[in-house]
Amino acid sequence: MNNKIRVLRAEQRWSQAELAARVGVSRNSINSIENGRFDPSLPLAFDIADAFGLTIEQIFIRGAGPVRTED
């Protein structure tokens, strides 16, 4: 599963640690999710989406292809 967390985080000027603190997980978690190495649980995916004020579908993309930043 791919995602746009890195892009969204850059837009908000949040560090990985800052996003991690907002959703209540470790920075390692955010780093691994961003890199597509680790798929978050559904509750964590909701928390991340809430942090950005978006829906899960707007952040997480099914499949292993590269993430397109334009919608």
Partner: protein, 156 residues
Amino acid sequence: MSFSIPKIRSPYMWVSIIVLVAPISFLLAIPWLRQQPDAVVYLCAGIAATITVVGSMIVAIFKDRELDEWHRTAVRFSNQWGWLTGAGLVALLLALPPVHDLLFNLSMAFSEGQEPDRTLVLMIFTFGFMVTVLAQSACTMLLNAMWRSQMSRPRS
């Protein structure tokens, strides 16, 4: 020049220290224990083992509360493969002659000059290892059944 002892604030750091001190103290006390009656030896061994097991469980529970899902996945992965590779590694080591010599020399060190039977020593170590692996397998199956049972229940 003065030295200050660092303050250990975390409660589970204290427990961790106790968990390490108990078996090390027991090992260091072996020369003294050999002169004591069996009841004293069993009592001391029981106390040391209980402190280690209970302390380890307390530390594990404390630490578990701090883990997020990324850490839990890492723990699950390492447990799943660590037990397997560790057991396989010991099985391989038990087949190596240098390890045989090491076990035999270790037994010699505790046998007060009487040479122990080499085959018996190796059989005891092998048997001990087999019992450990069987106990791990049994506990893994039991915990797996308990986890599946718990997870299958509807939420109240």
